[in-house]
Symmetry: C2
Subunit: 225 residues, 2 copies
């Protein structure tokens, strides 16, 4: 895990066959940026192209005062699912996972788990990908355990850039935008605080913002050294 | 996921064979409460008996002022690994996962991943268990995205009790203790705040404390309805 940023993806022969199969069976669909991906528990989804944003929505808190029916759900950014990666939806009241296309032309394939009986190699790759995603979530939870918000923020950004960052003159950059509100919802802070602390990190040259507002880290931070 | 609390475990014939194999190959070891389980990345661990506590330690923050060499690492409680469940250690500077026996007589088996080539069924079960753990962590991250600390606290406790709780006259109870400091480190709060809010939740009868200081939830909360 101390090498440069990388993507774990599934660019295997099986994966190519799967794409053909999905196309001929109407199991793929293209989404625009921020369009919700209709998804339900028990199915398996694979991102063929683009990126999906997972969001945890909490509908009505368990504690008093009870939320009214019309109250907006609280949403937490739970991470990206990149090209070649699987995801699935978990629902457990009051929490509900939701998937959105994070960029235009995001293509998602869906399968029943039993479809994978015909693709044993793919099944192993999918399960390995979930194993890897679980490891990343443990690191994510570790950074959320830090007392200072600025430490949580930098830890969170460096984990994201390590996983999804692409090489750039300034180090490694996320290839898509991420709002300060989304970052705040992930690290238990507010948009306002994130904006202030991002300014501080930029001043200290721990991050930089390049091109179309993409977040970058110098190489020494992007690979966790 | 709307059924009563349950444990996903591996009480299969394969599991029985594995226990025998581990014993005859000196691959199992018994730990006392709070003893650290020596573990390193790349190996696979299975909890045969008892429960393991996963902790994320952050050694020296990335931001200024730099932590001194002697500073205590910040520790975040990352969850339990119950009997029959696998875990593995991920390290990615500055984060380091650590495993501790959470109760006395905790027995842990260790394997190389390639050992599983001889146990294909177990390999599938282990990967399915990591898939399940990943789903639970996504729910955990959803509750951490809630604005109010009391909502994060109750969401966190209800997820834990749903997964590990055992039936009790008062609903479902965690079968082992969890300190307020450990809870605080998991939900981004302090011991003092957790103590205060736990009092509030008890007054509202949303939780109760039974027997040897075990946390309980009434049935309606323990199964996420």
């Amino acid at each position: 895990m101390s090498s440069p940023p990388f993507n774990v993806s599934l660019p295997t022969p099986t994966w190519q066959l799967l794409q053909d199969w999905a196309q001929s069976h109407y199991r793929d669909r293209t989404f625009s940026k921020d369009e919700r991906v209709p998804s339900r528990p028990g199915l398996l989804y694979l991102v063929e192209q683009g990126a999906v944003r997972l969001v945890g929505a909490t509908r009505g808190a368990l504690t008093e005062p009870p939320a009214t029916v019309n109250s907006e759900p609280e949403e937490a950014f739970l991470g990206f699912v990149g090209s070649g990666q699987p995801f699935e939806i978990v629902t457990r009241s009051p929490f509900e996972l939701q998937a959105y296309a994070h960029v235009d032309h995001t293509v998602v394939i869906w399968l029943y788990w039993q479809d994978l009986d015909a693709w044993p190699q793919l099944r192993t790759e999918v399960l390995d990908a979930f194993r890897y995603q679980h490891q990343r979530k443990l690191l994510w939870l570790s950074t959320l355990g830090q007392r200072r918000t600025i430490d949580r923020l930098l830890g969170f950004l460096s984990l994201l850039v390590e996983e999804y960052g692409q090489p750039h003159a300034q180090g490694y950059c996320l290839p898509f935008p991420l709002t300060h509100a989304q970052i705040g919802s992930a690290i238990g802070s507010t948009r306002v605080t994130v904006t202030r602390l991002m300014g501080k990190l930029r001043q200290s040259k721990l991050i930089s913002i390049e091109d179309e507002n993409f977040i970058c880290l110098p190489q020494r931070l992007a690979n966790g050294s």
